[in-house]
Amino acid sequence: MNGYTYTELKDTRSGFGDGLTELGRKNKNVVALCADLTGSLKMNQFKIENPKRFFQVGIAEANMMGIAAGLTIGGKIPFTGTFANFSTGRVYDQIRQSIAYSGKNVKICASHAGLTLGEDGATHQILEDIGLMKMLPGMTVINTCDYNQTKLATLKIAEHEGPVYLRFGRPKVPNFTNLEQKFEIGKGILLNEGNDVTIVATGHLVWESIIAGRKLSDMGISAEIINIHTIKPIDKKIILKSINKSRCLVSAEEHNFLGGLGESISRVLTENDPVPQEFVATNDTFGESGSPSKLMKKYGLDSNSIVKAVKKVLLRK
């Protein structure tokens, strides 16, 4: 765990932008659509290099989702880009009918997810999107933790046939995963081996889990840490293998506990090997304006909250 370090802070959305640029160069069927947030989504380079394969749709997300569905007819692989809120809740029925039910090969790429969007406040801080998307039959749901993983995920989903929801964020965060690592959809990554507790984290909470793991280690608690980037399909194997040893689990995500990663894990546990679980997630609430770090602290989504949850779950073992 102490092996995890980083040399720079980078935003996950830049991982998406750079991944998309690379895709533009190597896969001529990749096209991109954006609803007036090209800069925010880091799609500028793709746009410059592929003007004919980039579609600015204006502030019209419903239309963007429909156009993306239509572009797949004829073999294109559309990547849509806007904020997570406008990628999901605003266009749920368009995604449901024209993309998911129709089985269209659209990649819904969503930035500024969760509280870390920060100062814009709750209108833009969606904490329900993972739930909305994982409920759709056939939808793959991915939430990446840093720049490198987001870039790898962006490259990988172009090869995957079927609709994908790729969720990432706004702020600069530690870039600590290895770009040489293989990204496999549906496969969790074991970050640290431990015996006392299993921490399963996604998105920005993965780094917080590593920090928490160090704090726990100082207290003599050995935590196994798993990075789940794919929430659907969930990697049952890695979770069950870990709790077979630890016998308790903490899930951590920047999302409402309703509908999120934690709930997906709960189902895996109750169906296979019930052990105590604690949830680090927002508690059925909207967010508010503030700096990302202060928000994460206030809403209990930081390393201290993870440590607290671990202590609680250990008492329930």
Partner: protein, 281 residues
């Protein structure tokens, strides 16, 4: 036999199919289906440039999308009569384990359907995407999409209508079924949609009118004119005045048959007005 006479025979048979399909499951939407029968028969038998068999990507062939998916009976009948799938399959309409779902879908892999529709207002966007795909593929065939007039109350349409002219989607022909009726009553009672010609022109579209959208001859002439207007930097809109329930006297001039199936007696009367021509399914 003249081409029109042949199309009229198909039209009569399609009407019978529609009536018998909705009757057999006591559900479905006969009104709009009957109103658009001539349009579908003309499109699939005279206008669309289609390849043999069905391929989802539809490369180097014209593509048609139905946005107002509730008129699935006419879509299914015309597809079956054109050979996309066995005519006998029409008897499975809306029944368990059928490819002929209440509203069209790709989910059951029914040949001829390229996107699910039913939740209204989404078809123009999808058609634009398909038209863009054709442009990227240097495929000079056309994309057609049908929407209902009441359906234009959905906001997404206007996002798409704005986009299509702004981005010069000129390989797209939008057909609007102007029957002036929707579930709750006439469009003028429910929510007047105003002068669509002025609205579409203000949005930068080339607009053509079909005054008698239940005349095969008028439809074919105007669709051919619409085709000639493509590739001129403007999307094309055809405003097609139709009569909901056309071909069955008691179903016409009312919105009551939008989504109601005839009973046994009504079916018999309706069928007597539309004699069998190509053999019932």
């Amino acid at each position: 036999m003249s081409s029109i006479a042949n199309l009229e025979r198909i039209t009569l048979q399609v009407r019978r199919d529609i009536l018998r399909m909705v009757h057999s499951v006591n559900s479905g939407h006969p009104g709009g289906s009957l109103g658009c029968t001539e349009l579908f028969v003309a499109l699939y038998n005279e206008i669309l440039d289609l390849n043999e068999g069905f391929d989802m990507d539809g490369e180097n062939e014209d593509i048609f999308f139905l946005s107002n998916g509730h008129i699935s009976p006419v879509f299914y009948s015309v597809l079956a009569r054109k050979g996309f799938f066995p005519i006998s399959e029409l008897k499975t309409f809306r029944k368990l384990n059928s490819r002929l779902q209440g509203h069209p879908t790709t989910h059951e892999k029914l040949p001829g359907v390229r996107v699910a529709s039913g939740s209204l207002g989404q078809g123009i966007s999808v058609a634009i995407g398909s038209a863009l795909s054709k442009k990227l593929n240097n495929d000079n065939k056309l994309v057609y999409v049908l929407v209902g007039d009441g359906e234009l109350q959905e906001g997404q349409n206007w996002e798409a209508i704005m986009f299509a002219s702004a981005k010069k989607i000129d390989n797209l022909i939008l057909c609007v079924d102007l029957n002036g009726k929707q579930i709750d009553g006439s469009t003028s009672e429910v929510l007047p949609i105003g002068n669509l010609k002025i609205k579409f022109e203000a949005f930068g579209w080339k607009v053509l009118d079909i005054e008698n959208g239940n005349s095969l001859k008028s439809i074919i002439e105007k669709l051919k004119e619409a085709k000639r207007e493509t590739n001129k930097k403007l999307p094309i809109c055809l405003l097609i005045k139709t009569e909901m329930g056309n071909g069955v006297d008691f179903m016409m001039n009312t919105h009551e048959w939008h989504g109601v199936a005839p009973n046994d007696e009504q079916l018999e009367i309706a069928l007597s007005q539309n004699p069998e021509t190509l053999g019932d399914y």
